[in-house]
């Protein structure tokens, strides 16, 4: 009498090979595969169903000139013309420049400072749960709420930042923090860095805690100082984690929207228009649905390349049970 667990027992070597399966009429491989497929299928179906059409539709739209007509959308195929037009468009070029500056700076600051925070919290003095709580709070705040808060802090007339700096004597007159394109972009950077550091620090902290203390002990016994320990033990061990942190933060920096929408609306003078926001503006403010979709897809493709890099980085470490 074949029991349901016999397939596994056969694999484990307790029953002669193929007896159980021959009796059942299906191979062990098929059975396990069936389970796997059954477990995976609902998820794949849901994801494809909800996202596949819109994503395909958006790609489709980007290849058309789209006009809104009464109740319907009129499309005319124009191939890659939308994308070509982007290359000539000043706003697009500015958005690319802004996004590049923003992403590079944000990733450098967030990962760099996040590493610093992680190191601090890994130190015996930083072991208290209080600091762990601090890591969680900014991450849990809704981006919209964060934007509203910082808009208030940076307010040029009543903002607390101006008040504090004046009291400290750092400035004589109140500064319009969001007043010039460069300054506004940097403030945007500041706010998102503030929000993003804790999570990345958390990630890096987890990575730090995996490094065996023995390594440090041995190095110390060998006479290595703090910096050398950091350079030859900490950094190499953290390599994968750091790479993951960098890629994640880069991807997230492309998706930034709520902050730009609330804080600056892309201004002044398009100084804080990032690619994502540009796509929104083209689509919703000007109803250039085709070219808005083109911009969005540009972001998508850039991110996709990074995502592939991320997956590659993870694969060598994976273990799979042979089916």
């Amino acid at each position: 009498m074949l029991r349901s667990g016999d397939g596994n027992r056969e694999e484990a070597g307790l029953i002669p090979p193929n007896t159980a399966t021959k009796m059942a009429g299906i191979t062990l491989q098929q059975r396990r595969r069936r389970f796997g497929v059954g477990a995976l299928l609902p998820a794949v179906v849901i994801i494809l169903a909800i996202l596949a059409y819109p994503m395909a539709a958006s790609l489709w739209l980007s290849l058309h000139h789209v006009e809104l007509a009464s109740g319907t959308v009129a499309e005319s195929f124009i191939g890659l013309a939308n994308y070509a037009a982007l290359l000539d468009d000043d706003s697009f070029r500015l958005a690319v420049a802004n996004s590049a500056y923003f992403s590079v700076c944000e990733v450098a600051l967030v990962v760099g400072l996040g590493l610093g925070v992680a190191l601090l919290l890994n130190h015996p003095l930083g072991r208290s749960g209080f600091f762990r709580v601090l890591l969680i709070i900014p991450w849990a705040i809704a981006p919209v709420a964060n934007a509203v808060l910082w808009k208030w802090i940076l307010n040029s007339n009543y903002g607390i930042l101006n008040a504090i700096f004046t009291e400290l004597g750092l400035i004589d007159n109140y500064v319009t923090w969001l007043g010039t394109p460069g300054r506004a972009l940097n403030m945007l950077l500041l706010v998102d860095v503030w929000k993003s550091i804790p999570f990345i620090a958390l990630l890096l902290l987890a990575g730090l805690q995996k490094i065996p203390a023995m390594l440090y002990r041995a190095a110390w016994l060998d006479g290595a100082n703090t910096w050398q320990q950091f350079r030859f033990i900490t950094l190499p061990s953290l390599r994968t984690t750091l790479a993951i942190a960098i890629i994640l933060q880069t991807l997230w920096s492309f998706k930034l929207f709520d902050l730009v929408y609330v804080l600056t609306r892309g201004g002044p003078a398009d100084g804080t228009v990032l690619l994502n926001y540009l796509a929104y503006r083209e689509t919703f403010n000007f109803l250039h649905i085709g070219s808005g979709a083109a911009v969005a897809n540009v972001v998508f493709f850039i991110s996709l390349i990074l995502a592939i890099a991320y997956i590659r980085m993870l694969r060598p470490g994976g273990r799979k049970v042979p089916a």
Binding site: L68, G71, S156, N157, G267, R281, N285, F286
Partner: protein, 440 residues
């Protein structure tokens, strides 16, 4: 692990089954609640009218804003109708509208518009052609200019909303100024002189380039005061001349001498209004609504100290722009006559009077503008009436959003000294030409 082998398959199966159903139930329970929550109550004999409007304190109808609610209830009863509102913050209106129109789904019957009629004309119906003659005769004829498109009338403006000058009488006294500025030169001089004692002479919101109430629209005010206009007969831009450049130059001069430097970061008019009401600026241009909150001591530090005047005149006299707050009816409204009647209700004399007294938004009805109570409660009404005798074109076209975005961005760059007024206007003209041509 021993336990697994000992138990007969059937009882394990039952436990599994129960667990499974429990899990499914836990997941589906809220789902069922969700689905139930999505059903709407059916009103047996009444017609539902859905209205899309801004949230107060922006111009909002009775029921949305708290005035004339009894009158609305009575109207609903009389017409066997039920009016439901969807109200969102003003900056979100255009986005929501665009998404809904693009999807082709019927969502609202009566829709608030502000400068978007030409853009969305395809989705509206020209119900205003059928407005009662009594109402039309009581409205300024030019109020229909911003809601007409290709010869058809799509909307009814419900508040006389023009930019006028507001100034702090106390600041003026202290600076020895007895009269509001009458010309551009006065304005520039006053702005400079009034920048003292912890306040600036002028404040305005230069943070948002686009839309009515954005930077570009302010420039259009000055453009008209200099005798210029946006488009020629063929729809192409005709502002690349002295009028356009002088208008921009005025903004630059003001900006460099006496404007609150925070202005470049004030995205909505409320940011600038805040500065004015806290006594930190002496002059600004603003919509008629400003009068009411300025007199409220909980919101304003300048209660009783606000003065109003017509905008200073440029080379061609004074001019302004129209807020164009109007009611339109969607093309696929199921009961367009009832919708029209609702709009006529909103514009009925009594509701218009209450609109003025309770919310500060002036009536559009000439008879109500002249009403003694309204004039007493809103001294500013006389000023707005005076302003309305001069040009106030908002130059609304289907590309209004995109055009104002382009022009506004160039203006922002000019204000920051990145280019000269002449260069900017040339650039604007080129960009607007490209935008208009794209439409074909």
């Amino acid at each position: 692990m021993r336990k697994l082998i000992g138990t007969p398959a059937s009882s394990l199966g039952r436990r599994d089954f129960l667990k499974q159903t429990a899990l499914a139930g836990a997941a589906l329970g809220p789902l069922a609640g969700l689905i139930a929550g999505s059903a709407r109550p059916a009103w047996a004999d009444t017609t539902e009218i859905s209205v899309f409007a801004p949230l107060p304190p922006d111009p909002a109808p009775p029921g949305d804003a708290k005035f004339s609610q009894d009158a609305l209830a009575a109207w609903e009863q009389a017409h066997s109708a039920k009016v439901s509102y969807e109200a969102v913050a003003w900056p979100q209106l255009h986005d929501k509208m665009a998404t809904n129109f693009a999807s082709g789904a019927h969502v609202w019957d009566v829709i608030y518009m502000s400068g978007w009629v030409p853009e969305f004309a395809k989705f509206l119906q020209p119900y205003a052609e059928k407005l009662s003659p009594e109402l039309v005769s009581d409205m300024p004829p030019s109020s229909f200019s911003t809601v007409k498109w290709q010869g058809k009338n799509y909307g009814a403006v419900f508040t006389l909303s023009l930019l006028t000058l507001f100034y702090n009488t106390e600041h003026f006294e202290k600076a020895g100024l007895t009269e509001p500025p009458k010309t551009w030169d006065d304005l520039k001089r006053y702005a400079k002189e009034l920048t003292r004692d912890g306040h600036y002479g002028w404040v305005l919101n230069y943070g948002d380039p686009a839309g009515i109430g954005g930077v570009a629209s302010y420039w259009m005010t000055y453009l008209q005061q200099a005798g210029g206009k946006m488009y020629g007969e063929d729809g192409m831009p005709v502002f690349n001349n002295d009028a356009g450049v002088d208008a921009l130059q005025l903004m630059v001069d003001l900006y460099n001498n006496g404007t609150d430097p925070g202005s470049i970061s004030y995205v909505g008019i409320n940011d600038a209004t805040n500065v004015m009401l806290s006594g930190k600026a002496s002059m600004m241009m603003n919509w008629p609504f400003t009068w009411k909150p300025a007199q409220d001591p909980t919101q304003s530090k300048i209660a009783g100290k606000l003065g109003g005047a017509v905008l200073p005149a440029g080379p061609a006299g004074t001019a302004s722009i129209d807020g164009t707050d109007a009611w339109t009816v969607s093309a696929d409204a199921k009961n367009p006559d009832l919708c029209r009647q609702l709009v006529e209700f909103y514009l009925s004399p009594d509701v218009q009077k209450q609109q003025a007294l309770q919310t500060g938004w002036l009536p559009i009805r000439l008879s109500m503008l002249a009403d003694a109570d309204v004039q007493k409660a809103l001294p500013n009404a006389a000023v707005v009436l005076e302003q309305s005798k001069h040009p106030y074109d908002s130059f609304v076209t289907p590309d209004y959003n995109e055009v104002t975005q382009a022009i506004g961005t160039e203006i922002q760059k000019t204000l920051q000294g990145a280019k000269t007024a002449k260069q900017a206007i040339q650039e604007c003209s080129d960009q607007v030409t490209a935008i208009v041509k794209k439409r074909g």
